[in-house]
Subunit: 209 residues, 2 copies
DNA sequence: AAAAAATTTAACCAAATGGTTAAAAAATAG
DNA sequence: CTATTTTTTAACCATTTGGTTAAATTTTTT
């Protein structure tokens, strides 16, 4: 394989990403991927033998955006407050750059949990490191130290992640119904979320006020 | 049409709901709906002429679970705190009974926003009443009265709804990764959410502490 | 320039799918 | 009982789709 092969392979990969992420596995047609990539179906199969193989490659990459290394912020030596602030801000920033990822991942995870689990298992990080376990422990420490009020660590973790992901996964609802299709206000709303989420969460759990 | 017609029509409707909600529009096969309903394809088309018509009927009903009348709690004469508590508790209860609805709605909304918007428009309530506008006004009043801290009403509304919906839409993640497939702990977690969400939110926005 | 690899073209295939049709059988209504 | 409606059966159809094949052309490597 030459260097330019990566050019074509990458071209196909990006086209596949565009189509799969927008339309899901069932809604995606191989021909459309080829069309978007500006090549033909034969070449598509020449690089990725089956739809499944291509999809799985896309899924893995998409998942790395969905559960980004941002979670490693937890293992840094920042203060708890800073960790929350940086985690949420960075997470929202990542999602602002990949706004279609959440609904894609959530849907495919739901559609074919077994295959998805397999793909996630093949990724390094996330599942292996037990990042959430560490996060739980960190929260429990803060509670024990009296820095935050008592709360089940899992509830707090799901709140944090949910507050970041939800406005993206539910964009048509939030933009359409809450903001009556005013895209500008919806985008300003998302921008503010970068700091708003940490604010909201910390106000809820901090003890001194 | 006789009375028993409704029996068969309802049978088909329920089978369609089961399949569509689990597999989405693209992933659903008409034959599977017929199989689940215990009838044959011909009879299916005899009642609902096309896949689209059947789907749209299902979508409308599902959406009424996704955005339930619970939102009318807002217009009641309860105290603000009570409104939040009852809204979140009832919403989580509704979703516990229809756990697959969120991801179904979010995905179909994303897949075909125009058709979804049309269907939502044909429903009474929700879109017409500007429930969210009223909710915003209510929140702003509470801020002006000094009962809760300053916050953009839309941020608070999205937080509330997101905290309710997210654990259902992201079940495979929450159950699989956070709770390592311990279904029992995941279900206990959801049960606690009925009160936990209001707790979390009120702690964040209440002024006296 | 020769060999190897990449790309295109186009025809082709089998399976799946949404939908139709028509005739027979069963159930229901008048 | 007769007429109507509902339901089944089964064959059928056109289209779509993922995938293959083979030959020709272009590009890259050596």
């Amino acid at each position: 394989m030459s260097e330019e092969d990566k050019g074509t392979e990458e071209l196909i990969f990006e086209a596949a990403q565009t189509v799969f992420v927008q339309k899901g596995f069932d809604g995606t047609r191989m021909e459309e991927i080829a069309r978007v990539a500006g090549i033909n179906k034969s070449l598509l199969h020449y690089y990725y033998r089956t739809k499944e193989k291509l999809f799985n490659a896309i899924f893995k990459k998409a998942f790395s955006y969905f559960m980004p290394k941002v979670l490693s912020t937890i293992s840094s030596d920042l203060s708890f407050d800073e960790k929350i602030k940086i985690f949420t801000a960075t997470y929202v920033e990542v999602l602002l750059k990949n706004p279609h990822i959440p609904i894609f991942i959530l849907n495919e995870l739901n559609r074919n949990p077994d295959n998805a689990a397999q793909m996630i298992g093949e990724l390094t990080g996330i599942a292996q490191n037990d990042t959430f376990g560490k996060f739980s422990a960190l929260i429990q420490e803060e509670i024990d130290k009296g820095n935050i009020r008592s709360i089940e660590p899992e509830q707090l973790i799901v709140n944090l992640i949910g507050l970041c992901i939800f406005p993206f996964a539910a964009r048509p609802i939030v933009q359409g119904i809450v903001f009556k299709n005013d895209k500008k206000r919806y985008n300003e709303f998302l921008e503010k979320r970068k700091t708003e989420i940490a604010n909201f969460v910390l106000q809820s759990i901090k003890i001194e006020k």
